[in-house]
């Protein structure tokens, strides 16, 4: 019974869902099935939450009981699970007061008719977020009566306090680690070790430059972008000449000659190309053509793989819910 009942349930449910896809949408059967499936998955999802909680308590409880290394962290985990769960259950009116203080109005130079006000949330009278630009300072003169006006918006529930001041900063901090990891990964990985790596390198530089307006960097931005063509072509020619020299030292004179000729050809192209290099347009071309082609190829493969896996599960060839093979 244990061996054949789960695959039967899986197969029957799978076939029902497949039939549901083919039913016309305005039929009673479709609507009934839809409601049944939605309600069932909600109920199963909620029970899943309890299973997770039970596993968490069991796991950390065992660590505390056995005084395993790091059991103090388990105490903290369990206590905060209980505290935050309780704060979500108790009344919405329990929590610290939060005072909202509208900042100075500001007008954009080119949109004088639109007024905007930013609100800062202050906790116990301390400003925890401010936002000013040069435009704000200019606009203060237009509307001095709005400056410093205090308005109490509402009491923030304790749960929202935890969310705004604990969960949000911690989530943002963990995500921000990615920036550092990515930069070191970029430094380690972006080396022109082969022609494919060179292609990757060149396209990633184009996209990096196209993504941000480098000409806006104070003092040097305009100089860099003004000489971008020089930098790009010079680098390309130098790289090809370096490769040619490698071939020369390895006594591959024909390859050396071809590469030198390519460098000369690029020099000629440089002479005839217009002065401005539009990195944003190049970035769009890379994103819209080779990127799309590659993504579509992988997507089709992945979807076919998913389809095959689904058929295998529905037909009982693979039974992951029963430990792999039944």
């Amino acid at each position: 019974m244990r061996n054949y009942l789960p695959p039967i349930i899986c197969g029957v449910c799978g076939v029902i869902m497949m039939l549901h896809f083919f039913l016309p949408e305005n039929t009673m059967l479709y609507k009934t099935m839809m409601e049944w499936v939605t309600n069932s998955t909600i109920v199963v999802g909620v029970f899943g939450l309890f299973i997770g909680l039970a596993s968490l308590v069991h796991n950390h409880g065992n660590r505390i009981a056995r005084r395993s290394p790091g059991w103090g962290y388990s105490v903290i985990t369990l206590s905060f699970t209980a505290i935050v769960a309780l704060t979500g259950i108790i009344s919405q009116n329990v929590g610290p007061s939060v005072v909202s203080k509208p900042l100075d109005k500001y007008n954009y130079d080119n949109r004088k008719n639109q007024d905007h006000t930013l609100i800062t949330h202050t906790l116990f009278g301390y400003k925890d977020e401010t936002y000013k630009t040069n435009l704000v300072a200019a606009a203060t003169a237009d509307a001095p009566e709005m400056k410093g006006e205090e308005i109490t918006v509402r009491k923030v529930p304790l749960f929202m306090f935890f969310y705004n001041y604990v969960i949000m900063p911690m989530g943002a901090t963990t995500f921000s680690l990615l920036a550092f990891y990515m930069i070191t990964a970029t430094y380690r990985a972006m080396r022109a070790k082969s022609w494919e790596a060179s292609l990757l390198l060149i396209s990633s530089i184009i996209i990096l430059i196209g993504q941000v307006p480098i000409e806006e960097i104070p003092l040097i931005g305009k100089w860099i972008m003004g000489h971008a063509q020089l930098i790009v072509y010079m680098s390309l020619i130098l790289y090809i000449l370096y490769a040619a020299m490698k071939q020369f030292f390895s006594r591959n004179f024909i390859t050396c000659g071809i590469l030198s000729a390519s460098a000369a050809l690029i020099g000629v192209i440089w002479y005839y190309t217009p002065a401005n290099v539009d990195f944003e347009a190049m970035k769009s071309i890379i994103l819209n053509y080779p990127n799309n082609a590659a993504k579509r190829g992988i997507l089709i493969g992945v979807q076919l793989g998913s389809l095959a896996t689904s058929i295998k599960i529905l037909s009982g060839i693979e039974k992951p819910y029963m430990g792999g093979r039944g």
Binding site: P24, L49, N59, I298, I311, P320, G323
Partner: protein
């Protein structure tokens, strides 16, 4: 140009369309039947003993090397099946591989740790690992606590996994399944401990991070092929072959459609056989062919 109109069909077909079967999805049904038939055909061929070639996938070849290394050093093996739910295909593919890996680990008697982000995935994986140990003839070595739930928050999970990697220093990390932004955090934490890392995902945007930080990476559908590759079971190999042939059929259709579309736009055709054929090829993949 519409392929057909509902009103042009016989009355009984119109009745069927309104009450029993949406004719706009007929192409999907035909596709499933063709695809399923290909899979069934190759499964039967595999069962009858025919040799089905599958190309070498370096990441999967190195699983045994990774397990052996972990056993020699005496450190545990960490298996992470991604952040997807129980209905995510990538998680299911990762679970298939977990079954095979757990069976080999049971033979080597090495510690296995499987931290989970989803409680339902955790219960499935607990059963899976237990069954794997039983199949290997080592049910007594199965530890209840080896598969456990951490948190369902993506970054809380990533932080916890990084902490496990740094504290327990597993010798081999398997990062297989659906990943999002936490992929680089986990992979870099593992790389910093010196563990051998085998990663695999169909999430295209995370593949570059795995390639940089891990030793072996399974890209896209190699993850789905892994279950068949590792176990070498005829049923699974047959379905893999069927999937590949289906892909070939789609590629051929796409090539024909591209040639026809190019000819139609180059010659500015508005009617005729070539135009009709090109339009038909566009419509057969449309889920609203019938208006």
């Amino acid at each position: 140009m519409e392929l057909f109109t509902i009103k042009s069909l016989p009355l009984w077909l119109q009745y069927v369309n309104e009450n029993w079967f949406d004719l706009n999805k007929l192409n999907a049904l035909i596709g499933i039947i063709i695809f399923g038939s290909l899979i069934v055909y190759f499964i039967r061929r595999a069962k009858s003993g025919a040799y089905l070639f599958v190309r070498r996938i370096p990441g999967l070849e190195s699983i045994e090397e990774a397990l052996g290394r972990a056993t020699e050093i005496g450190r545990p093996i960490l298996y992470i099946s991604g952040i997807g739910g129980e209905s995510d295909m990538q998680t299911i593919a990762a679970m298939n591989i977990l079954g095979n890996v757990a069976e080999q680990i049971a033979h080597y008697d090495t510690d296995l740790k499987v931290p989970c982000i989803n409680p339902i995935v955790m219960t499935i994986e607990q059963e899976l690992v237990k069954q794997a140990y039983t199949r290997a003839g080592r049910p007594e070595n199965y530890k209840e606590d080896c598969v456990y739930y951490l948190s369902d928050n993506q970054f809380a999970y990533a932080s916890a996994v990084s902490g496990i990697m740094v504290r327990e220093k597993p010798a081999a990390n398997f990062l297989l399944g659906n990943y999002a932004a936490e992929s680089l955090i986990i992979a870099e934490a593992g790389a910093s401990t010196g563990a051998i890392q085998i990663a695999g995902t169909a999430a295209i945007s995370q593949i570059p991070f795995f390639i940089v930080a891990c030793d072996y990476t399974l890209i896209g559908e190699e993850l789905f092929a892994a279950g068949a590759y590792v176990s070498r079971e005829p049923l699974l190999l047959g379905s893999l072959k069927g999937q590949d042939i289906a892909k070939l059929v789609i590629i051929l259709i796409m090539i024909v459609a591209i040639i026809l579309a190019t000819v139609v736009s180059a010659l500015l055709l508005k009617d005729g056989f070539v135009y009709g054929l090109s339009d038909f090829m566009n419509k057969i993949f449309d889920l609203k062919a019938f208006k």
